[in-house]
């Protein structure tokens, strides 16, 4: 009887970690395994706090269950594509299928920290929301300057971000929501190790640079610092 109960408890624990996600047959097993491992990592996150902006976007405190619910209510299947080439690791095409995410071979080829990969996955999941016009990005202002008054550019190609559809004017969009998720993981995750917390801080602190309205950025910084 004890063995039976233990087996049931174990099965429940394991199944609570598994995402209801189907992979197309052409998605390599190595990509499927990495995606599943990354989602299990997110699902295991624990915490009892969150900032007000986090609660507004994700509906609850920092926890794996919160993030699992967010993801599963948007994405149910995964396909393989090159997402336009370049260094993309994931994309969505909600006009074809709002519940499908496409991963590229770069998902396992490039050596991103786990948190960075998940930031892109959750960013793309946010874009799948047909009801919110897919949280389309705003055009970055001209000029689009950093805190030091210098043009925001691609570091090696020198391409300016100004005029590109690569900004958000609202904290609810894909850049804003993924920044809020990571900053909250960095601050409130109770079972994340120091590396994960540091990584979350590094990528969130960078991602907030895509919020082009100073007053929105200021409100986000206050949300992180005052809570």
């Amino acid at each position: 009887m004890k063995v039976f109960i233990s087996s049931v408890v174990f099965a429940v624990l394991v199944s609570s970690n598994v995402y209801a996600l189907s992979f197309d047959s052409d998605v390599p097993k190595s990509i499927q395994e990495q995606m599943n491992q990354d989602l299990v990592f997110i699902n295991q996150i624990s915490g009892t706090k969150a900032t007000p902006f986090h609660i507004k976007v994700f509906g609850d405190m920092v926890s794996g269950a919160t993030y699992k619910k967010f993801f599963e209510s948007r994405i149910t299947s995964v396909g393989l594509d090159d997402c336009g080439g370049g260094a993309a690791v994931a994309c969505v095409q909600p006009f074809f299928d709002p519940n499908k995410m496409w991963l590229t071979n770069n998902f396992i080829k490039f050596s991103h920290p786990q948190v960075a990969r998940m930031m892109v996955v959750y960013h793309e999941a946010r874009h799948s929301e047909t009801g919110n016009s897919n949280w389309g990005h705003a055009t970055c202002p001209r000029p689009f300057l950093d805190a030091n008054g210098k043009d925001m550019v691609s570091i090696w190609t020198g391409a300016k971000l100004e005029g590109q559809p690569a900004c958000d004017i609202n904290y609810m969009g894909s850049y804003g929501s993924s920044t809020i998720m990571l900053k909250n993981i960095s601050k409130f995750c109770s079972n994340c190790n120091e590396k994960v917390k540091m990584d979350a801080d590094i990528y969130a602190s960078d991602q907030i640079g895509r919020i082009s309205r100073p007053e929105v950025k200021k409100a986000m910084l206050a949300d992180f610092e005052n809570n």
Binding site: S111, T157, N193, K195
Partner: protein, 244 residues
């Protein structure tokens, strides 16, 4: 003639029936969904990969690959350190960044293990950003010796990595996610700065030691000279914050 006419009518009727069937089929959108995004070419910013015209000559220096030297170092570690080394290697292979052993077993490491980590860093491909940054994190959160300081200073003297697929070649990148990609290119450098920051926040009294203060300053000055603005800015921010 009549037979031919009958066949023609039969053929046309069959074709019409198939077309009607397809039109009313509940699965018609599945045909569309089976296409991949790359089958269509109406995205505003199609990011076809273009190799840039320039390469950075300096970036062509390869780090020394001395796996044999590393194996010898590991063989000569005390048993407790060898167990820690196995833990470290298993974490790198598993790619599980949230392994609790990172804090439970790898927080305080012996000077010999630090030496092995410097060597391991040099054996990794430059594109192994997460593993290299992990090593920098382990050293920087547990700064013990002048060798640690020298190791960190060298991180900021490296030639910058130009793209995720090949550190020697700069490739055009999609503006949608290029800040994430660019952050990963400097992950080792950022990992060092964030670890130093955390250490100084938790233990600001360490800066009362003038030798330590000077060593941290040397690292930050080196980081300010690293040719990537995000690294320079973070180093500058730390100097301002800790009045260095």
């Amino acid at each position: 003639m009549k037979t031919i006419k009958n066949k023609l009518i039969l053929g046309l009727s069959t074709g019409a029936l198939i077309l009607i069937g397809l039109f009313f089929s509940p699965y018609k959108f599945n045909f569309i969904n089976q296409n991949k995004p790359s089958d269509f070419d109406f995205r505003a910013n199609s990011n076809t990969t273009k190799q840039h015209n320039f390469t950075v000559q300096q970036a062509q220096q390869e780090l020394p690959f001395d796996q044999q030297k590393l194996s010898l170092m590991i063989d000569h570690l005390p048993e407790a350190d060898q167990l820690k080394w196995q833990t470290f290697e298993s974490i790198i292979i598993a790619k599980n960044d949230n392994d609790p052993r990172i804090d439970l077993e790898l927080k305080k490491l012996s000077p010999q293990l630090h030496q092995a980590l410097y060597e391991k860093y040099n054996t990794l491909k430059r594109e192994e950003h997460n593993s290299r940054g992990f090593i920098v994190f382990l050293i920087a959160r547990n700064l013990q010796s002048k060798d640690d300081i020298e190791f960190l200073k060298k991180i900021y003297q490296e030639d910058p990595c130009l793209s995720l697929s090949d550190c020697h070649i700069a490739l055009e990148d999609d503006p949608h996610h290029n800040s994430t990609n660019q952050m990963t290119l400097v992950y080792s450098q950022m990992s060092g700065l964030y670890s130093i920051e955390k250490q100084l926040i938790e233990n600001p009294n360490r800066l009362n030691n003038s030798t330590f203060r000077d060593e941290i300053l040397q690292i930050l000055i080196q980081a300010e000279n690293f040719p990537v603005i995000s690294v320079q800015n973070k180093a500058h921010q730390l100097r301002s914050r800790f009045k260095l």
